[in-house]
């Protein structure tokens, strides 16, 4: 193994005159390690291996927060992988600006990504200075409330149809020894839940005013105060969750220990893996049943600039494989997310996914905060909301004041 790189270099010099074999090993790093996620990645790997290349899996567990620094160190440290997952949005901006990432415009033009990728905002966030740097693989929307039918049955109340009914049902759930709302301890979950509440309660315009225009006045205003009021409810309802990982929280819903969870559509993969059926065992409410709008962030693959020509070619192959219809269907079915192209047939999709596709088709979409705010501001938000959800003595008013401060200083 130690002489591996030397052997590779040797192989290149030997192989160059022939330049026939395209096959190359490509290391792909990502943080998809939960059950549903791993199954979805396997589809990508299968598709890529079928092209004659080899997918070398570089999974790093512990969510993006653990994995991203490692990925960035490797790219900046001069030991880049073949491809790596990032949430698209602003996470890789600087790597691109430093010329460390590969320009995919050629592949994108050849395969006409501009026309097939829907919604167009996905490709926009891959585009910097008119050049395309990433291949989006899925659309993830945060705006879902997952409910355990069993839990409500046990509590003797009807399964709620929207957020307000859910809040109203909370006391009954509590009486039955069920945690009404599962919120995992990881900071991004609390922050994400708040964003979801904001779209649902304050609406799209206010949402954009806050995150896109960074209007601190709106952020500190009465509309957002209502959102904080709802977050206060959510906080009260989440007491007793006592788990860290999002999928453990999802698992509480699956097992009926919790009434519901605000989580992105990736939670769907966990329900599927547990053999649960949408509509029967669980219910999903897009936009919390209040406001049928979903955000369209998602995952994308970035390709670091490599010196090895074979590998560069393989990168192109991988990029087009990721976008290919067959891969899109197979991957997204397992992952529980939506495909990035409108022209694929998702007949196999379940109820919830279909709801999502409908909303997508109607164009009721918004950008995700990820795409509008820097990682720095996102982190500050996470700190704020994880504190807010864990600390009952923090008033919604105080939290709103700090929130407005973060928005004011955001870049």
């Amino acid at each position: 193994m130690k002489i591996r790189s030397m052997a590779a270099a040797l192989a290149v010099t030997v192989a160059l005159p022939f330049a026939a074999a395209h096959a190359a090993d490509l290391e792909v790093t990502h943080w998809w390690t939960s059950g549903g996620e791993a199954a979805a990645v396997a589809e990508l790997a299968k598709a890529f291996d079928a092209t004659g290349n080899k997918w070398v899996d570089g999974a790093i567990a512990g969510a993006g927060g653990t994995a991203r620094p490692i990925m960035i160190s490797r790219i900046t440290g001069g030991d880049p992988m073949g491809a790596t997952q990032f949430n698209h949005g602003r996470q890789a901006e600087e790597l691109v600006e430093s010329g460390l990432m590969r320009d995919l415009t050629d592949v994108a033009t050849r395969e006409n990504w501009k026309d097939i990728i829907k919604p167009a905002s996905l490709l926009d966030s891959c585009t910097i200075d008119g050049k395309i740097y990433c291949a989006p693989v899925n659309i993830h929307s945060w705006q879902w409330l997952w409910l355990s039918n069993g839990a409500f049955e046990k509590a003797g109340v009807a399964v709620p149809k929207n957020w307000d009914e859910f809040v109203a049902a909370a006391p009954a759930l509590e009486k039955a020894g069920i945690v009404p709302l599962a919120v995992g301890g990881q900071p991004w979950q609390a922050a994400g839940a708040f964003d979801v509440l904001m779209v649902a309660i304050a609406g799209k315009d206010t949402f954009y005013k806050v995150f896109k225009d960074r209007d601190a006045e709106v952020a500190g205003g009465p509309d957002i105060a209502k959102v904080f009021k709802a977050a206060d409810d959510a906080r009260r309802m989440s007491k007793g969750t006592n788990v860290q990982d999002w999928n453990q929280a999802t698992n509480m819903v699956i097992t009926g220990k919790a009434g519901g969870q605000i989580m992105g559509d990736w939670a769907q993969g966990e329900f599927a893996l547990a053999g649960q059926v949408a509509g029967k065992d669980y219910t999903c409410l897009p936009g919390l049943g209040v406001n049928d709008i979903i955000s369209t962030s998602g995952d994308a693959f970035y390709f670091p600039l490599l010196k090895d020509e074979e590998k560069s070619k393989a990168q192109e192959v991988l990029a087009s494989t990721l976008i290919a219809p067959a891969t899109q269907v197979a991957f997204n079915l397992k992952k529980g997310s939506l495909p990035v192209r409108g022209d694929v047939d998702l007949a196999a999709a379940n109820d919830c996914m279909k709801k999502g596709l409908e909303i997508l088709a109607k164009g009721n979409v918004i950008e995700a905060p990820d795409q509008m705010l820097s990682a720095d501001s996102q982190k500050q938000k996470e700190d704020l909301f994880s504190e807010f959800f864990a600390n009952p003595s923090m008033t919604p008013e105080d939290a709103q004041k700090r929130f407005a401060g973060i928005i004011a200083s955001a870049e």
Binding site: G65, Q91, E94, G185, N242, S374, Q380, D383, A390, N391
Partner: protein, 300 residues
């Protein structure tokens, strides 16, 4: 800083040449990595570097923001609490165990192995195990409740007010064994005659320890202190494994703030500012001591 005096000799650079050559790795590490890395960090803490270091200076902005951040304040408070109690308890408990072990007991090897083995385990492992033992659903709390005391509450990891003490329990479990070992070695180095003299003089045992033995063990205590203190400042893995800083931000520590802001928030400048503050604190405590301990002394 003077060792043996050298003035007036020919070709000073070449004297002791092998020693200098052999010390090149140390000098490089000290200068390039520790000093260079530190200076680099301090310089870039005055920039608005985001994902990648960029020399765009913004003055004290990062520091103003740092000291405005509630999470940083909580981190500092936690470090102070954790540090204080770790120092006190690991020294007191470590010394107590060492003193007991020094009573010519039977099974000394067994006891010592038991006290020391946690040190072989990483903080990650330590954090995981204690997270589990302290989990209210099936850990200590549930066991005590199952025994009939149903109102018993012991859930330090889920109570923001006391979570840092939950981390402390785990940290002490991992580290006191080494402290005991160091202090035991120190006790063994005390001249037997001291004990005889104290006994003849009729001084009670605890007084002998407190007023005679402990002062004699100053060097051991200093070495121990360095080891404990350097561990305290760096505490990170334990918190990540045990609580991830939660609930909320109640068990955050400075090293985690640094890491999170450098890599998750992609705000290197903020991370560097935080690490500079940590360094300043450390330097204020360490430099005078290091100077006295290593710089001012010479060999006779």
């Amino acid at each position: 800083m003077t060792g043996q005096a050298h003035t007036g000799r020919p070709s000073r650079l070449l004297r002791n040449l092998s020693s200098k050559i052999a010390s090149i790795p140390m000098m490089l590490t000290a200068v390039v990595i520790f000093l260079g890395g530190t200076i680099w960090t301090v310089v870039y803490s005055f920039t608005n570097s985001r994902l990648l270091p960029r020399a765009k200076f913004v003055g004290l902005d990062q520091y103003e923001r740092l000291w405005d951040a509630p999470r940083w304040i909580v981190s500092i408070q936690n470090l102070a609490i954790y540090g204080f109690f770790t120092l006190v308890f690991s020294l007191v408990v470590g010394f107590l165990l060492a003193a007991l072990m020094d009573q010519k007991i039977r099974f000394e090897n067994t006891f010592r192995t038991i006290f020391l083995y946690p040190f072989a385990l990483s903080f990650i492992v330590t954090g995981l195990v204690w997270q589990w033992i302290l989990n209210p659903e099936f850990g200590v709390q549930s066991v005590v409740r199952a025994l009939g005391w149903t109102s018993f509450t012991f859930d330090p990891l889920y109570n923001a007010d006391i979570v840092i003490y939950g981390v402390l329990i785990a940290g002490l479990w991992q580290g006191t064994g080494l402290v005991m070992c160091l202090l035991l070695a120190g006790l063994r180095g005390i001249d037997e005659d001291i004990w005889k003299a104290a006994r003849v003089d009729g001084i009670p045992m605890w007084k002998t320890y407190l007023f005679i033995v402990i002062p004699m063990m100053r060097p051991v205590f200093i070495t121990t202190l360095v080891i404990i203190a350097s561990g305290i400042v760096k505490v990170y893995d334990l918190v990540v494994a045990q609580t991830s800083g939660g609930p909320g931000i109640a068990s955050e520590v400075p090293a985690k703030y640094v890491y999170d802001y450098m890599f998750q928030a992609q705000n290197l400048g903020q991370g560097f500012a935080a690490s500079t503050m940590m360094l300043v604190t450390v330097a204020i405590i360490i430099i005078p001591w290091a100077y006295l301990e290593f710089g001012g002394r010479k060999r006779g």
